[in-house]
């Protein structure tokens, strides 16, 4: 067993990390020379990982172009090596790598576009949540509203960006080539599973801010206080509108009362 394990380790180092020499000794130099055998498998590895990333990030691939995307994929496979025989979650860290590569460049929007694309992947892989039960919500005593604790739907995500991230995504779909003004300001988008599709719904900044507070697990009363503190004195946050936005975008999955109380 040790000899098999050691041989497999030499293959891994040759195919992924380019350490060819030790493996060459293990291979038959016949119809295909050993050095060519290794190149075929190195090429297969690069193509497998590039393909897996391209399937999850078609907009990033289009934005950076084929050659650059290949370079990114190559760095990714080395920095974030696969730890599963199932590639469905392989690309999870690409937004992190893009942030590292492009933070202080004119392409600093790329990590947010990648986060949007990855959120689309994630919601496809989970069961669709039922929408928030508005009837049950209507039965809550208004005096208890500050104690309401909303929980994000497991089949929805929020991506907030200081860039027009949804406009960038939309303008880079196949057969679309609409210019985007990168200085157009921030955009916030709720990504949710909707049957066999994924829905992208833009929400206002106040709704996104409220959603971020809700995500921390604090009750609505505290979230409103916190929101009021960060809002300019002459602009009262429209909480009802923000909650309505988040509900219709299907970001909110359910609610609880804190401290626990009956809903009737």
């Amino acid at each position: 067993m040790n000899s098999l394990r050691e041989l497999q380790a030499r293959c891994y180092r040759a195919f992924l990390q380019g350490e060819d020499a030790p493996l060459r000794e293990d291979l038959v130099d016949k119809t295909i020379p050993a050095s060519i055998s290794i190149r075929v498998y190195q090429n297969n590895a690069r193509e497998t990982y590039r393909g897996a990333l391209a399937a999850s990030y078609p907009v990033i691939e289009r934005l950076v172009g084929d050659a650059c995307f290949r370079g990114i994929a190559r760095k990714y496979m080395l920095d974030y090596p696969s730890s599963s025989g199932d590639l469905q979650n392989f690309g999870a860290a690409l937004p992190e790598l893009l942030a590292e590569l492009y933070a202080d460049t004119g392409f600093a929007y790329l990590p947010d576009v990648a986060a949007l694309e990855w959120a689309m992947e994630e919601v496809q892989l989970v069961e669709e949540n039922k929408p928030l039960d508005l009837t049950a919500l209507a039965e809550i005593d208004p005096g208890s509203y500050p104690h309401l604790r909303f929980v994000r739907s497991t089949s929805a995500r929020l991506v907030s960006s200081r860039y027009p991230v949804l406009s960038i995504w939309r303008s880079n779909q196949p057969d679309t080539d609409t210019p985007v003004n990168l200085d157009a300001g921030s955009e916030h988008v709720v990504i949710s599973r909707s049957g066999s599709d994924v829905a992208l719904v833009p929400v206002a900044a106040a709704a996104a801010e409220l959603a971020a507070l809700i995500e921390t697990g604090i009750p609505l009363g505290l979230a409103i206080e916190s929101l009021a503190e960060t809002t300019a004195a002459d602009a009262t946050p429209d909480i009802a509108r923000a909650l309505q936005d988040l509900t219709s975008a299907r970001l909110l999955g359910r609610f609880e009362l804190s401290p626990p109380m009956s809903t009737h």
Partner: protein, 289 residues
């Protein structure tokens, strides 16, 4: 109670030509129910409970016999079997109740890191005992026989002492698994390593072959060296059709799958390829009668 217990579903995989079920075809199979004898799905694409893909597969399963074909279990690795992967597979098998379950004669991980490739083993007594033991683990957990498929290869190990075809036959004999014989993979490896594909075909016991794969490959140049690579992006080539016909004449019809995984054509192209395989099987039936 598993979902599968409640449903009337098409039964076992017939000795007929099926096609690989890939994501872009899901909607067409759900809405139009095109005529196909059976479908094969890549197990790993359906591991996530409640996912869009699994929901689609369950709907499609109501109308078609389905087999599950794994590409990531890495049975031949010296690493322990990835328990989470095997549990995901077991759960999927329970849910889908496939006619056949298959994996590969290969390895793909070491030290917990994966290459996500179907890498050939050294054909040694050590590797043979290892494969037999590992297939036993998988069959025990799934509570059923699995099929093992030969892979295309682009390297040969110096320490191999057993021809691949004898290794595969021995794995099946000792583990009780069946064989999924990929004729394209035999052709690709034969061309790359200079062996006779007919010798390979003849060495595999007929009663062990429970499924056949047919696929396209591509020729790639590395410096001046031409290598056939199993890319599954093209029609089945003439030589592979001939080998398939030869195999059928010896063993008779078997469930046969047209695999196409990249640069996917319209579904009709796959169905036409399956039609060619079906004609050859029908002819084999007539000759055997």
């Amino acid at each position: 109670m598993a979902v599968s217990d409640n449903l009337e579903r098409p039964g076992p995989i017939p000795a007929a030509a099926g096609i690989g079920l890939r994501g872009p075809y899901h909607a067409e199979f759900i809405s139009d129910s095109p005529e196909a004898a059976w479908l094969e799905a890549h197990s790993e694409n359906f591991f996530a409970p409640g996912s869009i893909a699994l929901t689609a597969l369950e709907r499609i399963r109501e109308n078609y016999p389905v087999s599950l074909h794994g590409v990531g279990l890495s049975i031949g690795s010296a690493d322990p079997i990835a328990r989470d992967h095997l549990e995901n597979l077991a759960e999927l098998v329970e849910r889908v109740q496939p006619g056949l379950v298959s994996e590969h004669l290969c390895w793909g991980s070491v030290g917990g890191y994966h290459l996500n490739d179907l890498l050939p083993l050294p054909y040694t007594e050590e590797a043979l005992a290892h494969m037999v033991e590992r297939i036993g683990q998988v069959q025990d957990r799934l509570g059923r026989k699995i099929l093992i498929e030969n892979v295309s290869s682009y390297m040969e190990f110096r320490n191999s002492t057993i021809p691949e075809w004898e290794f595969l036959a021995s794995v099946a004999a000792s583990s009780g698994c069946g064989i999924l014989l990929d004729v394209n993979n035999i052709f690709v490896s034969a061309r790359n390593h200079g062996f006779d594909p007919l010798e390979y075909l003849d060495a595999i016991p007929a009663d062990k072959i429970e499924e056949i794969h047919l696929a396209g490959h591509s020729e790639q140049l590395f410096d001046d060296h031409s290598v056939l690579v199993d890319t599954h992006n093209a029609p089945v080539c003439a030589e592979v059709w001939t080998l398939y016909e030869t195999l059928l004449s010896r063993i008779g019809p078997r469930p046969t799958l047209i695999e196409w995984d990249s640069e996917l054509p319209p579904l009709t192209v796959l169905l036409e390829e399956a039609g060619k395989a079906q004609k050859l099987m029908d002819r084999a039936h007539e000759l055997a009668a």
